[in-house]
Each structure stands twice: as structure tokens, then as C-alpha cells.
Symmetry: C2
């Protein structure tokens, strides 16, 4: 705006929840940024911010991007407003670290915001540990070996599409479970895959839980299901 | 063996190549381990070890697990011998950090070794940043948003299986490209997906390269292809 240097937008993956699963690069860049932005609930906390809160400094300007808690995709207005708030900082020459739980390019709000800013600033993405690999680690569950493909499937798909996607993949991780639990259990039961499916909630956090999916009746949003035609947990892994 | 405490096996993901993409947890555990093991070529170096070499101490016992450089899956003997070497250390009460490039449970030699040790020691897996998300970050290429599934497909599949897997997935990352480049390009061309496919080699390393796949004629093993029905790179990303 003032003719000076434009700021740079960093999309920073901060991992699945355990602050120790933050990378050295994420740590360096989020400490150095003038402005730190993060998705948050309408009135409450930000999970992404909480992961790295111990490393944020008093001199850093913070921008909470508030998402409505309604089911379904957020309205475009949320992304428009967030992009405008970040653009003002970038135009003023400030580097902005946009914190993303997991990885910025895997089901993150980063994508919708970065799409709106891509023509006006340079963007660097710092990859992070995803909940997919953290969930597999929690269950000591091999995700993919040799020639095996792996599918990552959102539980938010319509029932028929979900069943098609799982049936087409030999091995799958179903993410964003939450209120879609019953639909997912139903689809897996019909495919004969329920008995071997493993449920993981809050992977890498102190309240992490790993159970046979068949035993589970309610699930938080941060939960996932590991699906394979044959049981594959390493028996030396955690319970 | 001596009736004392058994050591613990840590499968430690050290990320895609950039030492800064190591997590704090990986760093803590690999520094603390009595024994550090890693896959290596028959006579030469270990990529996983090179990533974290600066943090290894003189007092740590190192075990290189030598894999033949022939195409195709390694012989079972390699895993048997590695498991025996690690078991001797674990039985003597030593904790063993088995370093894995990327994530231990995504196409890693860790799986074959851990399967052989799972009944005789406790295992903890530390998830890491994978080449899949590092490749997407290099290209500023959104991997998955909203209700979109994502498939990770090894280029080592037979041509017909590869084409089936790509055709069934709307969005895919084809890994382990190397000498399978021509087969992959052929399959994508037949599916009408070659023009939009993005090639990434050595993601996160100084010689990282991002190009349209159609321009590429040779590929190292550490390369991958991002496939989607429509172009999706964020235009503010790197070249």
C-alpha cells in the first residue's frame, strides 16, 4: 500500500495436538512472525493456537478467525473477512503466520483463505504432522506398505458416496468422524469391514483413546477410523 | 535376557528431508536413545541418518540396516537380520530409536522390522511429516478440502492397477515415482489427467524442483506426482 515491501503469508502446520509434534521450522517461523492468525470457534478458543501458545510472544499481533459452529461448510463471508484482515497486515509489510492444526493443505481453513490472497502476496506452506499419521501411530497401525494404495476419506460424504469410496480402497482412514459415526459404522458393517476397524480419538493428546470401532457410540469431531480388510495392528503397540 | 528391563523400540519419523521438518519429539527421543538404527544402502549412506546427523552423539551405538539396491521388494532376510540385531539390543535393556524418513507407518521399512519385534518389546511410533504433504507444500497444491477424498498411490503398481486406482480417485498423489515415470505418464495421459499433473522432486531439500509432469523425462526415486481433475495450485506459491 505504502509502496514498501509486502509481507509474506506462511501457512504453518502445527501438527495434530501434542506440542512436541511441532516441527523446528514451524517453531522458528511462528516465533518470528509479526502477526499470528488462527482459526477459532465463535467465542472460544483456538485449538491451533493452544498447541503453540507457550511459544507466542507478547509483541505479536494476534488475529482470531472466527468460524460458526454450525454443521456444514462455513459461509464464504468468513473466508472473505479473514482474507481482508490478513491482507491489511500483509500490505502494511507484516509477515503473517497462519496457524493450521495438522497440515495446512489437508482439510484446513488455510486453503480457502490462501486462495483469496494468492494474487497479492507470496505464500510459503510449512507441512505438518497430520491427524492421519498421528492416529495410525496411536494405534500402531501400518497405513501403507509396498504396493498398497491408501485412501483418506471424509466422514462428511453422503452415505452412498462414503460406501463407494471405502469399497474402492483396500485400506482407508475415515476422518472428521464426529456426528457421522452412525453412518460410518453402518457403511462399514454393510461392507463387512466393521469388525476390524479401529477408532482413534484425540490422537497425540493426553486423552488419546484407541478402541475397536464396533464398541464406540459417540465420537468427538477430532476422531478417525482406520479401515483394512485384515487386522493389522502391531501387537507391541499401546492398548 | 538377563532378567532385567527390556528396551523400548521407537519408530521415529524424521520427515521428508529438511532437518527443520523434524519434530521436537523426534529430536528428544533420538538424542536420548542408547541405540540409533536406520535403513541404508548396501555400502553407502542413510538418508534418514543424514537428516538428523547433526544431533547424533558419539556415545550412541549405531546400526545401519543395509538394503539391496535391486528393484522390487527387499528379501525377507534383510528384515529378519535387522530384527535380530535390534532384538539383541532391546533384550540387553537398551532403548532403540529406529529412524524412518517421512513417517514410520507410510511405506517405511519400519513396518517389516516392527512386525518381527512386536511380541518381544513395547513399541512407540512417533509420526513425522510425510513426503506427500511436503510435496504439496512445495507446489502450494491443496491436497484435500471439504468432502474430497484423497488417494495415495504407489507408482510401483502394475499399469492397469495404477490406472484403476487413479481413475477411482478424484484427487491423488502418486509416490515412489523413479523408474516408473513413463508408466505413470502413460496412465495419466489415457485418463486425460497428464496436462494438469504436477511433478515434485526432493521436496523440502535444497534441490527441490516443481514442474508440470508433462515436461519431465527422468525422475529420481524421491519424487511424486500431484493429480487432480482441475489445476489447483495457489498462484502465490513458489515456481
Amino acid at each position: 500500500m505504502a509502496g514498501g515491501r509486502h509481507g509474506r503469508l506462511y501457512g504453518i502446520g502445527v501438527g495434530p495436538g501434542d506440542p512436541e509434534l511441532v516441527t523446528l521450522k514451524a517453531l522458528r517461523l511462528l516465533r518470528a512472525a509479526d502477526v499470528v492468525a488462527y482459526p477459532a470457534t465463535e467465542r472460544g478458543d483456538s485449538f491451533a493456537r493452544a498447541i503453540v501458545a507457550r511459544w507466542l510472544g507478547r509483541g505479536q499481533h494476534e488475529i482470531a478467525i472466527r468460524f460458526p459452529m454450525r454443521p456444514g461448510p462455513p459461509p464464504a463471508r468468513v473466508y472473505d473477512d479473514a482474507a481482508a484482515a490478513l491482507a491489511a497486515q500483509l500490505d502494511a509489510g507484516h509477515d503473517v503466520a497462519l496457524l493450521c492444526q495438522g497440515d495446512p493443505l489437508v482439510y484446513g481453513s488455510f486453503i480457502g483463505i490462501a486462495e483469496r490472497l494468492a494474487t497479492r502476496c507470496s505464500i510459503e506452506v510449512v507441512p505438518g504432522v497430520t491427524s492421519v499419521t498421528a492416529g495410525a501411530a496411536a494405534a500402531a497401525w501400518p497405513l501403507a506398505a509396498r504396493d498398497q494404495p491408501l485412501a483418506i476419506i471424509p466422514a462428511t460424504l453422503a452415505a452412498a458416496d462414503l460406501a463407494d469410496a471405502v469399497a474402492g480402497a483396500k485400506v482407508a482412514v475415515i476422518v472428521k468422524l464426529g456426528r457421522h459415526l452412525a453412518k460410518v459404522k453402518g457403511a462399514l458393517a454393510e461392507l463387512g469391514l466393521l469388525a476390524g476397524a479401529v477408532y482413534v480419538e484425540h490422537a497425540s493428546l493426553p486423552d488419546q483413546r484407541v478402541r475397536p470401532l464396533a464398541e464406540i457410540d459417540t465420537a468427538p469431531y477430532f476422531s478417525l477410523v482406520l479401515v483394512a480388510p485384515v487386522a493389522r495392528r502391531l501387537s507391541g503397540g499401546p492398548g
